[in-house]
C-alpha cells in the first residue's frame, strides 16, 4: 500500500528564516493525520507545501505516489508548469483557517464554481452535487445566502463542501476551527468527524486536542520546524515522551 502523503527530508525557508528543517512522515490512505504544535512550529507551512501553495527548498514530497510540483526524469528534476500544478491540486481539497469563501458568490455558487470551471462539468450536474454536499454539512436552507450572511461556523462548513465538490482523495485542514467562536466549533468538528468516518484521508492542523484524540489515527507534534514526537494520538497526548511535547500539552490541555 502506498502512502497518500510521503515527505522525505522536506526543508522550507523564507529568505533567512528556516521554517521546516527536514520533515519525514507518511500519511496512510484513509487515515486522519493530526499535526499539532506551538504557533510558528511550521505545521501550517508544511500543510501548504502538500498542495504546492508553498515551494519546498529541498527534500521530496509525494501525494499518492506523485511528486508534488516537479517531474523526475532520470536524475533530473523538472519544475511543473502552473497548469500542471493546477491539475495536481484538483485531487487535494483544502480548508483554510479564515474560510476564504468567494464573497461574491452564494453558498451554492461557491460549491459549484470549481467543478464547472475546472472539470467542465455541466451546471445541472454541479448543482445537484453541490446541493447534496451542502445538505450533508447541514446547510440545506442556506444555499442562496452569500458568505457575509452566514456565521463563521456556517462559512467553514460551506468551505468544506466547496473542497469536497472536487471529489478529492486527500483533504487538508489548516486550523479549521481557530477563527470560530467557541460555540460554533462543534458543528464544524461534527462535519469533519463524519468525513473521517466516510474514509477520507485527512491531514489536520489543529489545536483541538479532544478532536485529535477521538478521531485521529496518527499524530505528529512539531516544534521549531522538526517532528518532535509522533504516534497514536492517545499515546502522544496521554503519555508524551519528549520534554517539549510535555511543556506544550501542559499549556493546551
Amino acid at each position: 500500500m502506498t502512502a497518500m502523503v510521503k515527505a522525505e527530508g522536506v526543508h522550507k525557508s523564507y529568505g533567512a528564516a528556516h521554517i521546516l528543517k527536514g520533515i519525514d512522515l507518511e500519511v496512510n490512505n484513509g487515515e486522519v493525520f493530526c499535526l499539532v504544535g506551538p504557533s510558528g512550529s511550521g505545521k501550517s507551512t508544511f500543510l501548504r507545501c502538500i498542495n504546492h501553495l508553498e515551494k519546498i527548498n529541498s527534500g521530496r514530497l509525494y501525494v499518492d505516489g506523485q511528486l508534488v510540483g516537479y517531474r523526475q526524469k532520470g536524475d533530473k528534476l523538472y519544475e511543473l508548469k502552473d497548469s500542471e500544478v493546477a491539475v495536481q491540486r484538483r485531487d487535494i481539497g483544502m480548508v483554510f483557517q479564515r474560510f476564504n469563501l468567494f464573497p461574491h458568490m452564494t453558498a451554492l455558487g461557491n460549491v459549484m464554481e470549481a467543478p464547472i470551471q475546472v472539470k467542465g462539468e455541466s451546471k445541472a450536474v454541479a448543482r445537484e452535487r453541490a446541493e447534496r454536499l451542502l445538505d450533508r454539512v447541514g446547510l440545506r436552507d442556506k444555499m442562496g445566502n452569500y458568505p457575509s450572511q452566514l456565521s463563521g461556523g456556517q462559512q467553514q462548513r460551506v468551505a468544506i463542501a466547496r473542497a469536497l465538490a472536487m471529489e478529492p482523495k486527500l483533504m487538508l485542514f489548516d486550523e479549521p476551527t481557530s477563527a470560530l467562536d467557541p460555540e460554533l466549533v462543534g458543528d464544524v468538528l461534527d462535519v469533519m468527524r463524519d468525513l473521517a468516518e466516510s474514509g477520507m484521508t485527512m491531514v489536520v492542523v489543529t489545536h483541538e486536542m479532544g478532536f485529535a484524540r477521538e478521531v485521529g489515527d496518527n499524530l505528529v507534534f512539531m516544534d521549531g520546524g522538526v517532528v518532535v514526537e509522533s504516534g497514536h494520538p492517545r499515546d502522544v497526548l496521554g503519555n508524551p515522551q519528549h520534554d517539549r511535547t510535555k511543556a506544550f500539552l501542559s499549556k493546551v490541555l
Binding site: A86, R90, M94, F96, N100, F102, Q117, P147, S148
Partner: protein
C-alpha cells in the same frame, strides 16, 4: 420645564407593561444655521438678478436645445466618450495585469506607458495624434499603406488621444482594485485547481469591481466633459456644434448655456447608472443592499404618512 421633570422622580421604577416615558426636552436652537441660510439665499437671489439683467437672449436657449446640429454634436460626444472609455478600460486592465506581472519587462513597459500618458496633458496628446502626418506622411505597416492624413481622421485622433490617456488612469485604478482583493482568495482558488487566468477572471476581477467602479464612474463623467477638448482635432462634438451655431447666430453665450445644459443632463444620467452598477457589485459584501433612491422615496413617504397618522 423643571415642573415637568419633577413629576417623574428620577429612578422611579417603570411599572411593567408601561413603555418608558420619552424625554420631552426643548431642543437646542441653532440660530447660526438660520443666519447662514438667509445669507446664502440672499446671495443666490443676487446672482439670479445679475443674470436676469445680463444681455442674454434667454429664448434662444430652449429654441436651440434640440437643434439638429446640437443633437448631432451630442451624439458624437456620447460616441467618442463611450468609445474612448471602452478603449481605456481594455488598456487599463491589460496594463494593470502587466504592471503586476512577475515579468520585469512587461511590468516596466506598463510603468513606462502609465508614466508617459498620465504625465502629459491630454490636450497635447490629442494635438500630437492629429499632427502625426507631419512626421509620418505615409502610414505603412507592410500589408496596409495609405496617406497618414487619410488614416488619422478626427475620430481616430480623438479616440487615440482620449483612450490612451484614459488607459493610463484606468491601469492604476484597476491595479488598486486587484491589489485590494485578499490573497486568501487567490490561494483558495488555486487550491481548488483553478488556473491563473480563471482565478483572475472568476475570483479576483469580480471582487475588485467593487473598488474599481466608483473611480471608473468618475473617470467616465470626466471623460464626457474632457471630450470637449477634441474640438482641437476637428471632431464635430457637442461644444464644436454649439460654437458653429454661435459663430453664425452670434448667440455665443446662449450656445454655451445650451452645451452646458446637455453636459449636465449627460453626467446626471450616467451618475444614476453608476449608482445601480455599484449596487450590483456590492452583492455579497454587504449583508443587505442599500435602498435605491426610488425605494428611499417610497419609504420616506410611507414613514411621513405614518407620522401624520400618529399625530392625528
Amino acid at each position: 420645564m423643571t415642573d415637568k421633570l419633577d413629576k417623574v422622580p428620577a429612578g422611579s421604577p417603570t411599572p411593567a407593561g408601561v413603555p418608558p416615558e420619552a424625554i420631552k426636552a426643548i431642543p437646542v436652537r441653532h440660530y447660526g444655521r438660520w443666519v447662514a441660510g438667509v445669507v446664502v439665499v440672499a446671495l443666490l437671489v443676487l446672482l439670479g438678478y445679475a443674470f436676469s439683467q445680463g444681455n442674454v437672449r434667454w429664448a434662444t436657449v430652449p429654441e436651440k436645445l434640440f437643434d439638429s446640429t446640437i443633437l448631432s454634436g451630442l451624439w458624437h460626444t456620447i460616441l467618442i466618450s463611450v468609445a474612448s472609455m471602452a478603449l481605456g478600460l481594455v488598456l487599463g486592465v491589460v496594463f494593470a495585469v502587466m504592471r503586476l506581472s512577475k515579468n520585469p519587462v512587461t511590468s516596466s513597459v506598463a510603468w513606462l506607458y502609465i508614466w508617459i500618458f498620465r504625465g502629459t496633458p491630454v490636450y497635447v496628446q490629442l494635438l500630437i495624434w492629429f499632427s502625426l502626418a507631419l512626421i509620418f506622411p505615409v502610414f505603412n505597416i507592410g500589408f496596409y499603406k495609405d496617406e497618414m492624413t487619410d488614416v488619422m481622421t478626427p475620430f481616430l485622433a480623438a479616440l487615440l488621444g482620449l483612450g490612451l490617456n484614459e488607459g493610463a488612469y484606468m491601469a492604476e485604478i484597476v491595479r488598486a482594485g486587484i491589489q485590494s482583493v485578499d490573497e486568501g482568495q487567490t490561494e483558495a482558488s488555486h487550491a481548488l485547481g483553478m488556473s491563473q487566468s480563471k482565478t483572475m477572471r472568476r475570483v479576483v476581477l469580480p471582487q475588485s469591481m467593487r473598488v474599481i467602479i466608483p473611480p471608473t464612474g468618475n473617470e467616465f463623467i470626466n471623460m464626457l466633459k474632457t471630450s470637449s477638448l477634441v474640438v482641437a482635432v476637428q471632431y464635430p462634438e457637442l461644444l464644436r456644434a454649439a460654437q458653429d451655431i454661435a459663430s453664425t447666430s452670434f448667440a455665443i453665450m446662449e450656445m454655451f448655456f445650451v452645451a452646458s445644459i446637455w453636459y449636465l443632463i449627460l453626467t446626471s444620467v450616467f451618475s444614476v447608472g453608476q449608482y445601480y452598477l455599484e449596487r450590483h457589485y456590492a452583492r455579497g459584501s454587504l449583508r443587505s443592499l442599500p435602498a435605491t433612491p426610488w425605494q428611499k422615496i417610497k419609504a420616506n413617504l410611507s414613514r411621513f404618512s405614518n407620522r401624520e397618522a400618529v399625530a392625528k
